[in-house]
């Protein structure tokens, strides 16, 4: 039987030297994460360090405009400005309990690198972040943040000096230093146990939202909507509702359109492949991976989403760059909340659904805030 099997997706497609460490990590995760001590410590950190619980906000102006009730789960209010902190706290604590001395991570735009640097500082773990040289130049502020918190930023110059090359370099480091190093994967991707482990750490989003919706409205929402790159914020929102009568919608990075040659929407337009240690859906070979938001700029997707798509539990749609930018502006103007460009894809999808009128209550995961996207916004809207 395969490990981490999501109806045939997932698994551990990695070189032999990584298998034993992954098995150890899975064992440590199963043993440690279930203990009261771990859960209590993690809960305290999520509350006191990260700022949980986050509220749900009834988007009054949007709701009035569209004639349906739209609720936002405010993950943008967390420390660091996005849901990423839920996962890094969980994995960081696990690494510490498992006796690891060192954290490594790859980062594209720098968000996951900054989150990892935070937890490295918090838990006193040596932290090294792999980042393509091109990204280092483009995301200088995030590099400064990481360094300020004590992380080493390793500029990767090989290949295209981008995210994929940073992943390669981080994997090499992990393969050589498995004995004392934890590779802190940033989304529900990669070999088992990462997809299920990251999902569990992000599930706090949906667990809170489910209770909050019941308390606020007396019932569950009709639909839950989130953006999907690797897919951790979406899985985190969906998981608590998976057995409920709640429709799921995933908004992929549609780039220039899912029928174009530039997008990041493998579930809308892609095939089954093996990539980065997992079997999942991947964009076609002749498509250049592209999204206006760096966080969705990934050729694959978490295997659990591939399963949700295959069994029809969630409907995935590509949201184009233009649609996402329009939603970015609309939410900013109507509610006074600037969403991350990633999250704007989810907002755009929610507004499409609101237009369709099929659902009366729509819950959207506002997975991050848009401060980091102001340069794009300024250029796009001529601010």
């Amino acid at each position: 039987m395969s490990q981490g099997d999501f109806e045939g997706y997932g698994g551990r497609h990695v070189p032999e030297p990584l298998l034993e460490p992954l098995e150890q990590l899975a064992d440590a995760y199963d043993d440690v994460s279930a203990t009261d001590e771990f859960q209590t410590e993690l809960r305290d950190l999520l509350e006191e360090f990260a700022g949980r619980p986050t509220p749900i906000y009834y988007a009054r102006n949007l709701s009035e405009r569209y004639g349906v009730d739209i609720y936002l789960k405010r993950e943008d209010l967390l420390h660091g400005g996005a849901h990423k902190i839920n996962n890094v706290l969980g994995q960081g604590l696990l690494a510490k309990k498992a006796g690891r001395e060192r954290l490594i991570a790859e980062t594209g735009a720098g968000q996951h690198g900054v989150a990892t640097a935070m937890v490295g500082a918090l838990l006193d773990l040596e932290t090294e972040i792999y980042m393509g040289k091109k990204d280092v130049e483009r995301q200088e502020m995030n590099v400064f943040r990481m360094r300020l918190m004590g992380a080493d930023v390793n500029e990767v110059t090989r290949g295209d000096a981008g995210l994929a090359d940073a992943v390669d370099a981080a994997l090499e480091d992990f393969a050589e230093n498995v004995e004392d190093t934890h590779y802190l994967v940033g989304s529900v991707v990669g070999p088992d146990p990462f997809p299920r482990m990251v999902r569990d750490f992000q599930s706090v989003i949906g667990e809170e939202a489910r209770e909050q919706m019941k308390a606020k409205t007396g019932e569950l929402p009709d639909a839950a909507v989130a953006c999907v790159g690797g897919g951790s914020n979406a899985i985190g929102l969906f998981h608590a509702f998976r057995d409920d009568d709640v429709a799921f919608y995933g908004a992929e990075g549609g780039g220039e359109g899912t029928d174009s040659k530039r997008h990041a929407a493998p579930l809308s337009s892609g095939d089954d492949e093996v990539l980065h240690g997992m079997k999942t859906r991947v964009i076609d070979e002749d498509v250049e991976v592209h999204s206006v938001s760096a966080g969705l700029d990934y050729p694959g997707v978490g295997p659990e989403h591939a399963m949700f798509d295959a069994v029809g539990r969630c409907e995935y749609t590509g949201i184009t760059d233009d649609e996402a930018l329009a939603a970015f502006r609309e939410l900013s103007e109507t509610e006074g909340i600037i969403p991350a460009l990633e999250s704007s894809h989810g907002v755009a999808r929610a507004l499409q659904l609101a237009d369709d009128g099929e659902h009366d209550t729509i819950l959207v995961n506002l997975s991050g805030r848009g401060d980091k996207d102001m340069e794009t916004a300024a250029a796009t809207f001529d601010l």
Binding site: R12, H13, P15, E16, G159, E172, E176
Partner: protein, 289 residues
């Protein structure tokens, strides 16, 4: 399991065996053909050919660069198979590639030929078409660095049906139950990874090699050691430690990338490595480390 293994025979009959790796299509398939023939002349007993994949997560920078060059040169699975078909060398040939390449070949993404494609239904990813084509071209075995033993059953079955060996990698971190699971599926030889990390030429022979060979002693399949082997002296040490063969890759890729006279240099390197291995076999009984 493959009971009449061409690979196992090649290793046993040429003991201690030299196994060489090159990325096919680096820098072109025509040149690869000349290089493979040079290695064969120089004394290689088995030749691994890498079928390039864009996300080679087991490889260090040297082989990654070779893979990039091969991809840029337009190396596709079909052109790879044509090269293999074309090669006339004494040493049996193995293909080393990533599981995605094998699955994609079966999904119709790269049709084998028009007439076959039209008549066969496409049932999603399946390793069978790749193995069938590999067998047709005379390949003797397959190595898939990102295919764990737990996921290998479909490929193992397809290889058994066509009489191909499926070679597995044993790492310094592989032991106990995992080692049993791997060795119960392995055929041809056990690819002993000499150290943690990715491929690449290193300056010394790891002490992990001795430990790994000791752990494998009870299994009745030839053991070949790779990762970091670059000189005849390494080959000697490895064979002296009890290996049945040595595997060399990155050091040959360096020659391909840098030499002005790669054909002559590859032949000479193969000769040096084979000589080193033979010195190791003629040495007195190894001392236990």
């Amino acid at each position: 399991m493959n009971t009449d293994s061409e690979i196992e025979r090649a290793i046993r009959e040429n003991h201690p065996a030299l196994i060489t790796y090159l990325t096919a299509g680096d820098p072109s398939l025509e040149e690869t053909k000349a290089y493979v023939e040079a290695l064969d002349r120089g004394g290689a007993d088995l030749i691994e050919l890498g079928l390039p994949f864009s996300e080679p997560i087991a490889e260090g920078p040297t082989i990654q660069a070779a893979i990039n060059r091969a991809l840029e040169a337009g190396t596709t699975p079909e052109r790879f198979f044509e090269l293999v078909d074309d090669l006339e060398v004494e040493a049996p040939l193995l293909v080393m590639t990533y599981y995605n390449m094998i699955l994609q070949y079966g999904s119709g993404a790269e049709p084998r030929s028009a007439e076959r494609d039209a008549t066969e239904p496409q049932n999603g990813p399946d390793p069978e078409p790749f193995v069938e084509r590999a067998a047709e071209t005379g390949l003797a075995g397959i190595i898939v660095p990102d295919l764990p033993a737990e996921e290998a059953a479909p490929l193992r079955a397809a290889c058994d049906e066509r009489g191909l060996d499926l070679v597995f990698i044993v790492a310094p971190t592989t032991n106990g139950e995992r080692l049993d699971r791997i060795m119960s599926q392995a055929s041809g030889f056990a690819y002993v990874q000499a150290r943690l990390g990715t491929t690449g030429a290193r300056a010394d022979v790891s002490s992990a090699t001795h430990d790994s060979l000791a752990r494998l002693e009870e299994y009745d399949v030839p053991k070949a050691v790779g990762f970091g082997v670059s000189e005849g002296e390494h080959a000697r040490e490895i064979v002296e430690a009890g290996a049945d063969g040595v595997i060399v890759g990155s050091a040959l890729i360096d020659i391909v990338a840098e030499s002005e006279t790669p054909v002559a240099d590859l032949e000479a390197k193969a000769c040096e490595l084979k000589g080193g291995a033979e010195r190791g076999a003629n040495a007195p009984e190894p001392e236990q480390p």
